[in-house]
Subunit: 121 residues, 4 copies
């Protein structure tokens, strides 16, 4: 992965890209399982988290159009959605393995986004 000449440090983004990918997968699976357990709020938040994580990851994979303001806003959204999803999933984590895994993946994504944001600033 080439270091961008555009202001985006793709090496420092790498852990964040992987954390978003993992959270997108965990949240997609959690949403799928939730629907059978009448956990409507959890399923809905997980579906949106999967989309937000995928979109944030894709922006990090596109150095050509890097825009500092757009990227930091998207990372802030990823943090907010990831935190809301983790908080919801943590309520079901003791009885539901997919929620425990999803909460963990969301927290890791939130941490990785915060690290990437602080190393960019």
């Amino acid at each position: 992965m080439p270091a961008g000449t555009t202001g985006m440090d793709m090496v420092s983004m790498q852990p964040c890209i992987e954390a978003c990918s993992a959270a997108a997968m965990a949240a997609t699976m959690c949403a799928d399982a939730d629907a059978g357990e009448s956990m409507a709020r959890c399923a809905s938040l997980c579906a949106s988290t999967a989309d937000v994580a995928t979109t944030t990851m894709r922006m990090m994979l596109r150095p050509a159009g890097y825009d500092a303001s757009a990227m930091s806003s998207m990372m802030a959204a990823c943090v907010a959605v990831g935190e809301a999803c983790a908080a919801e999933c943590e309520q079901h984590a003791s009885m539901s393995e997919h929620c425990r895994i999803c909460a963990q993946a969301c927290r890791a994504m939130v941490d990785a986004c915060r690290s990437a944001m602080s190393s960019t600033a």
Copy 2:
């Protein structure tokens, strides 16, 4: 479309949903055309705008998981990405019809997100 019992006013969201949908289409087409014209930054920003607009629209179509903080962060990201994309496309608008259309759709999306944000607050 039922008015949410969850805190999200889907009626006031409707213009924003439509504006995001239109911007997602215009930006997808603009990115496709840009690549043949060596407009790398424009293509990249348009590709991310299409993803962000689609994700924002989907969150508005999911009232069950409405979270005020997550939604307002995502709308702020949509505004930031849409503004960066519009500013880029406006530079090519006089010679490129797809950029003119995309810039217009992005500005309309930014305005609709701002209206939705202010009516929610």
Copy 3:
């Protein structure tokens, strides 16, 4: 929208693009509502239909990379997923408005894909 010089007739694709967009929205909303009603299979099929419809629509908005074999395979997938989703939603249509709307949007998408496929061949 310019008629493609690439073999894709974007004018004849237009109704299909709109039908995919409408089905993507209806299926996203149906999936969100299903989860609160323990309709796990319906929610899951709707979530996949929303993704497949969005991806098919985006391919139709990208004439530069038009490949006849790739496009007809994706349209066949859109037909198969749309039919599975419509069949599921029709079972709940009498008691659930979102399922009735989603089934209708899926059937319209299936018809539009078939028309576009036959006019392309």
Copy 4:
């Protein structure tokens, strides 16, 4: 990841899920780089491959709505789009590292989809 009670063997799907995820990332990066090199057809095919790979992956992460016909159609689409993208990227592979990586990831995804399809049948 629980083995589905729904007819989808998620253990045998696992390599396919990972191959789709890798191809989605490689194709997103390749599309981004292509646009600056006037490789319009390559950029467009890569953008669609990223979407198709992501959608196929998500369907495999949703066992609750498993439908054999829908899944095998989507996998066939993933094979067709992945092959078209690989063929295009291979033409530029000797001079463009991102195309070489993307072609490889697409071929691996095509192989993984074929394996999953044959083990499902």
